[in-house]
């Protein structure tokens, strides 16, 4: 950490100090997200209990109903009740949507860097969807990959929020540098505060360095590759993906990458609905 401190700008140092001292507003983990997270790596939660939890949150219920009635998820008829939504989309998908919606509401707090915050959230969500498909292709756990994709950059909104309280006029380069230097620390702080699963801890801790991730190399490579695809404005061509070290680590051959990229349209449609 001493070496890092030499390079960081004063802003980065200030944000790091704020994180070190606990001088940041760590958002509370929404109860719906807590329920999903606590059960996702363990036994299945009871569907009825989960439905009750969602229904207690009026804003969550209305948001969820909007999503499930979007063209992507809606079938022939309108969905008018939560139980109907669960029956139509499946508990797994409802849990994912509920987690996504509740986290978004919690971490995206208004501030001077709203645009960057929204961009960060968009990348997170897109990464989650791509991570799920990469996982399916490589025979790794699909649910864990989605979760890690969604939360791999969860520190960024916290950093932007903290930075916004210090200055409203940081240049794009300065903000980018602060995000580079502080997001991991902020993410790990949230892992601790929210008691997130260890897989998420690893995805954050080793982001961009899958080779260092010991037993979690595959998971980190999946999330990093998903992030690479998600950060591009357009869907990449096969060669761009094939050239990535993560692709080679996951041993994806060009025809398999082609098959993966064919999911792009579905992912874009789902993404549009969720954002």
């Amino acid at each position: 950490m001493a070496e890092l401190a030499k390079d960081v700008s004063g802003l980065s140092l200030s944000v790091q100090q704020a994180l070190d001292n606990g001088d940041v507003d760590v958002p509370l983990l929404p109860s719906v997200a807590a329920e999903v997270l606590s059960s996702s790596l363990d036994d299945r939660s009871n569907a009825t209990r989960f439905a009750e939890l969602i229904q207690q949150d009026q804003s969550m219920t209305s948001h969820l109903m909007r999503v499930v009635n979007s063209p992507v998820f809606r079938g022939a008829s309108e969905i008018v009740a939560l139980q109907q939504a669960i029956a139509r989309l499946g508990m797994e998908r409802i849990r994912e949507i509920a987690l996504t919606v509740s986290l978004k509401a919690s971490v995206l707090q208004p501030g001077p860097y709203d645009d960057l915050m929204s961009r960060s959230w968009y990348v997170a969500l897109r990464s989650a969807l791509w991570a799920r498909e990469i996982s399916r292709l490589t025979r790794k756990n699909v649910e864990v990959a989605y979760l890690c994709g969604l939360l791999h950059n969860i520190g960024e909104p916290l950093v932007l929020n903290c930075l916004g309280k210090m200055t409203e006029s940081a240049s794009p380069d300065e903000v980018a540098q602060v995000l580079r230097n502080c997001s991991r620390q902020a993410g790990l702080l949230l892992v601790q505060e929210w008691a997130l699963p260890s897989a998420v801890d690893l995805a954050i801790r080793f982001r961009g360095e899958f080779e260092s991730a010991a037993n979690a190399k595959d998971l980190v490579a999946i999330v990093d590759l998903a992030r690479f695809i998600s950060c591009l404005k357009e869907l990449p061509i096969c060669e761009q993906v094939v050239d990535q070290a993560e692709t080679q680590h996951l041993n994806l051959y060009p025809d398999e990458v082609d098959a993966l990229l064919e999911q792009g349209e579905n992912i874009a449609t789902t993404l549009e609905t969720l954002t």
Binding site: D42, R44, E92, R139, N141, E143, V144, N215, L252
Partner: protein
Amino acid sequence: MSEVYDTIVIGSGPAGQKAAVQLAKGGQRVAMVERARQIGGECVHRGTIPSKALREKAVERNRINERLREMNRETVNRSISVAELIGEMSDVVDAHDKYMTEQLLRNRIEICHGRGSFVDAHQLELLSNTGRKKVIRANNFIIATGSRPRKPDNVAVDHEHVYDSDSILTLAYLPQSMVVLGGGVIACEYASIFAMLGVKVTLIDRYPQPLGFLDHDLTSCFVSAFERRGGIFLGEVDVADCAFDGVSQVETRFADGTVLKADKVLCAQGRIADLDALGITNAGLSLNERQLLSVDTEGQTAVPHIYAAGDVIGPPSLASASMEQGRRAACGILGIDVGVLGQYMPTGIYSIPELASVGLTEKQAKDQDPDSVVGFADFSEIARGHIAGAKDGMLKLVVGGDGKLLGAHVVGVNSTDLVHIGQMALLQGASVELFIDNVFNFPTYAESYRVAAISAAAQLPERVQGRRSYVA
């Protein structure tokens, strides 16, 4: 100019490894083509080794819980994540990979990472995962590309709710309930492991008993132990379809309309030869009616310089058999006479309890020799089993009417090791008296051979027993 080898071995599983090492020791320049990142094949990465490691964890946890219960202490929570167990397995797999790689490199075998496809009978195009292609040539080939899970049309395998044997170990948590489709070795191994880990498992097969190729007493012991642990076996069931219900459960619909719901499903309805990308027709080869490569006793295919070994040639599809098939194929290329493959190949099944078998079953023996008899030794009556609290163990010997040993079948602790005593006796054409007239260590499970031998000998006709008059 493409590189030229004496032999190219395609696949680095048990068959490919043994073949490559044998060829290298015979002085050949050998290349081994492997499409996966690590060598070892499905056996090491998704099959034999990880599932056995998971089995050990399940057994160990059960043993600890039994001891804790005896001491009236709180038992280990069942909600352990599978990821924790898999994490520990990664170490086992990595160690195995390291050991094997070193062995191959020590023997100067060139490892070519990529996907091979025949250009013609002597050239193989190698496609790397970066998309680069190169052609390598060889005078001989050994195809040992193994197998992959069969995907029945009526089962919607999505690796999220419905798994196959390649993806089941990616489960991040233990489900409450699981349906296992199939009654073969893989199905029974996983069904019994998950049952021991506390999952409510239903094993479904279209035959009346699982593991139908084994002696009926072994399958009965397996089913009874499985059901004692809360598992359910449903035999003679035709599955119409199986898919995620869109809510939270996977629905398995039977042909009679019955629907069974479970959190997860494992589809383990056999494996098929993994030859799709190999372009075998370019080499002059074709698949037989069972979608396998046909070979002679040495592993030689219809194209004389191309051999095949392991799962691509079909049953028994055991790692042990594949290793020997690989070695024999290599010897075929080297022109070394290895003689006839021993007829007594043991079968080891790492279910809970462990099962092992060699030679004739009781039914097969009766069909050949109506005077044949069987003798049993229950592990709970053997001092070693009594000390260890063995509940599910037994040894069954099948003996011909002339007193000659015809088969040995074992259930329980160390059975996959114990069966080799019977195998050696069979190979020597020994009579059952061999076990009676010799001394075994005490207390050991091996002593059960003596007990079962006496039990069988006592049933033999007087002319065979002679003046010994055994009393069971």
